[in-house]
Each structure stands twice: as structure tokens, then as C-alpha cells.
């Protein structure tokens, strides 16, 4: 079981390394979106500091979301997904591996980059810490939930945008607790409560999501 999950993760990581542009560009997308918002909003620094948690979290969420359509689409198109569905092990495990790999490639780098961007918004050290923690804890949930959406929209024409439509509402709780944790720190309240709720979401997302995802994939293959 664990061997299979490891095999999937290592395969997906290898593919991601071959398309390194993907990871790097997701990060740059993150950076650009974060810098874009102030541009549209105006240069007042007080306002910007208030915006920071929301903007950073929304940008992380969008960056994750952009990479979702390809989570299964490539495998679907070239027939690999069929092979995976025919593998002797439960498809849910395979999905779990893919979700973890997706997080390693998309969520983790975002979380590590976030504090650097947060600096530009003049956030305190505490707030930066909480920002990183909240992203580290929260982004796996994004990958997990996203997988369900990606599977449901697989092979559906116009899936990419339909996917955002399905997934964004489900991302809202993650966004609220994530940005809430940072906000709470900025305003001097504790982030504890928000972070543990976020953790609960992630556990649920990562370990529950693969099963509906697997079911949706089987339907997509019919």
C-alpha cells in the first residue's frame, strides 16, 4: 500500500521535475497576483497591510486552482488513467498519492515563499510565522478538495472553468480560517483556534477526498 503511494508520488514528482517551468511559473503567478492587487487598489500602505492576509491567501488559492485541471487531464488524455484504474490496488490510494504529490509541487513552495512576499506588505514577524503555518496546514486541503473537482470535471468540455466553479465555494472555509488566522495575529488575538480548525479541514480533505475522487474518475472513464 505505502509502496504504491510512494511509487505514485515519485512518478509525479519526476514528471513535475521534467516540466519544471510549471512549478516555477506557479510561484511567479503567485508573486504577480500578490503584487497585482495593490496595483488595482491603490498605494495606501495602511490599506495594504489590512489587505495582506486576504490577498496572500486568495493568491495561494488561485495558484493552486490553476494547476488543478492538469491533475488528471494529462493522464486521462494519454490513456494512463485507464491503466491506473485497472491497477490491482484501490484507485483511492493512487489518488491519495497524486494529491500528496500535487501538494508537494504546488502548496509547499507557496507556503515557503509566502513570508518573503508578506515582508513587502510590512507584516510583523509573528504574522509572517502564522501566515506560513496557516499555508502549510491549509494547502493540503486545497489539493484534496481540488482533486474531487478535477475528477468530476474530467473530460467535460470547458472543464477548466467549471472546475473553478465547483471548487472555489469549497475553498471558502479554508480561506476564511487561513486568512482569519493571520488576521487574528495582526489584530493581536490568538491564531490557535483558526489553525486547529484548518488542521481538521486538511485531515478531512486529504484522507476523505480520495475516495469520492476515485469514484468520480471511474465514472469519467466509462
Amino acid at each position: 500500500m505505502l509502496k504504491l503511494v510512494r511509487a505514485i508520488i515519485s512518478r509525479d514528482l519526476r514528471l513535475a521535475m521534467r516540466r519544471r517551468a510549471d512549478i516555477v511559473s506557479a510561484l511567479f503567478f503567485f508573486i504577480i497576483v500578490v503584487s497585482l492587487f495593490p496595483l488595482g487598489v491603490g498605494p495606501e500602505p495602511e490599506l495594504l497591510r489590512k489587505l495582506a492576509p486576504g490577498v496572500l491567501w486568495v493568491a495561494a488559492l488561485l495558484a493552486t486552482m490553476l494547476s488543478l485541471p492538469r491533475l488528471f487531464a494529462d493522464d486521462h488524455r494519454d490513456g494512463t488513467l485507464e491503466q491506473l484504474a485497472l491497477a490491482p490496488q484501490p484507485l483511492g490510494l493512487i489518488v491519495l498519492g497524486k494529491v500528496l504529490a500535487h501538494w508537494l509541487v504546488s502548496g509547499l513552495p507557496l507556503a515557503l515563499l509566502a513570508p518573503v512576499l508578506g515582508l513587502q506588505f510590512d507584516l510583523s514577524t509573528d504574522a509572517l510565522w502564522v501566515l506560513t503555518c496557516s499555508l502549510l496546514i491549509g494547502t493540503p486541503a486545497l489539493s484534496g478538495i481540488g482533486a474531487i473537482g478535477a475528477a468530476l470535471t474530467l473530460g467535460v468540455r470547458g472543464g477548466g472553468v467549471l472546475l473553478s466553479l465547483l471548487v472555489l465555494p469549497l475553498y471558502i472555509p479554508v480561506l476564511i480560517f487561513g486568512a482569519g488566522a493571520v488576521d487574528a495575529t495582526v489584530t493581536g488575538l490568538g491564531a490557535q483556534a483558526h489553525l486547529s480548525l484548518l488542521g481538521a479541514l486538511t485531515l478531512a480533505g486529504v484522507f476523505f477526498a480520495p475516495w469520492p475522487t476515485a469514484a468520480a474518475l471511474r465514472i469519467a472513464l466509462e
Partner: protein, 209 residues
């Protein structure tokens, strides 16, 4: 080993086939024929439990494949219209990864040997997106060299291959049958498979139902 009875396939409002049945034992091959669109691919996908059968039953070693689930998939090797290879990976990597995902070990020497048998020597380390149409198909087929699962379901394996490659693949299927394996094959290019008993099944031209 593989028994199919009274299978029916409906697509949209069109009944592609009905009442299809056959029986395949160890060392036998089913050569599935029929015009374009007669439902061969649809039948094979049912055999692989990728799509459900509206009517009829498919049994493997006496048990319905729906019930067997993973146990059936453990004995099944499917090759579809698509190659199931990753364009970014090299042929060698593709072969080894697909073995790993099927829970089989495949060391580098064996894999290289398999690729060479399919005439891909010298291309082991070129990402697959550079390969020609036929070479990609060869990479997909290289899996068969070390494949020891009992039932092979091959959907037009010969497409895009040149004649020497076709012969080699036919040889692989022959060897598989001789080892006591089963195979179900569709192709529009009739090619003799050396060993084993070949049953033929012709899907009636469509539009009759």
C-alpha cells in the same frame, strides 16, 4: 477461464450488439472482428470492467468480474487505442514506471532488453514526445515483453507499426499463448499469430438492430 454470455451494448439510442457470447480457455486467443464502429472497443472496455455491461455477464474463472474486482484486475493487462505513455519521460522511464504502478519489479537491464526487442535501441533516453507515431506505439507495446498476467486485452495493437514491428508483436502474443495465457485482440490488419488456438468473433455490421 473467461466466459462471456449474452452481452449487449447500447450507445445512445443505437444497439451496437446483443447476444454476444464466447468462452476462452488457457492458451486461446479471441480475434475480434468487425467494421469501424461495430462496437469492438466498446466490447473490450466491458471485458476490462471499464464500462458496465447493460445486459449479460462476464465471468472469470467462474466468477463475475464485477464481484472479483481487484482480483480480476490483478490478472488483466489492457492496451487501448491510447498509448498510455508520458511524453516527458523517456521510453525506459515509461516502461519502468508503468511496471511499478502495476506492482511489478522491472530492473533496468530487463527493461532495456524489452525496448531493444521492440526496435527502440538508441532511443531509450529520448523523451517520448520526440518519437514518431510508430515508435510511441512500440514503447507502449514493450510492456508486453515481460508481462506475465493471464489475460491480455489488446485494442488494435498494430496501428501505426511497420511490418517488422507487427511481426515482433505477433510473436510476443504467440509466446504468451504458449505459456498458457489468454488474449483478446482486435485489428483491421489480419496477422497470423503463430501458436495457440484462435477463435474468431465477428460483430455484425451495425445498423441492424
Amino acid at each position: 477461464m473467461l466466459e462471456v454470455s449474452n452481452l449487449e451494448c447500447v450507445r445512445g439510442e443505437r444497439r451496437l450488439f446483443a447476444g454476444v457470447g464466447f468462452r476462452l480457455d488457457a492458451g486461446e486467443m479471441l480475434y475480434l472482428q468487425g467494421a469501424n464502429g461495430s462496437g469492438k472497443t466498446s466490447l473490450l472496455r466491458m471485458l476490462c470492467s471499464l464500462s458496465p455491461a447493460q445486459e449479460g455477464e462476464i465471468r472469470w474463472r467462474g466468477e463475475s468480474i464485477g464481484k472479483l474486482g481487484e482480483d480480476y484486475r490483478r490478472e488483466l493487462c489492457h492496451l487501448g487505442h491510447h498509448n498510455a505513455i508520458k511524453e516527458e519521460l523517456t521510453p525506459l522511464e515509461n516502461l519502468r514506471t508503468s511496471a511499478r504502478l502495476a506492482d511489478e519489479a522491472l530492473d533496468e537491464g530487463t527493461a532495456l532488453d524489452a525496448l531493444e526487442q521492440l526496435g527502440l535501441a538508441g532511443r531509450e533516453d529520448l523523451p517520448c514526445r520526440y518519437l514518431s507515431q510508430g515508435q510511441k506505439r512500440r514503447v507502449a507495446l514493450a510492456r508486453l515483453v515481460n508481462e506475465r498476467r493471464a489475460l491480455w486485452v489488446l485494442d488494435e495493437p498494430y496501428v501505426a507499426l511497420d511490418s517488422s514491428a507487427i511481426e515482433r508483436v505477433a510473436g510476443l502474443i504467440g509466446a504468451h499463448l504458449q505459456r498458457g495465457g489468454l488474449a483478446v485482440l482486435t485489428t483491421h490488419q489480419a496477422v497470423a499469430v503463430a501458436a495457440g488456438k484462435v477463435r474468431e468473433l465477428v460483430l455484425a455490421p451495425d445498423g441492424q438492430a
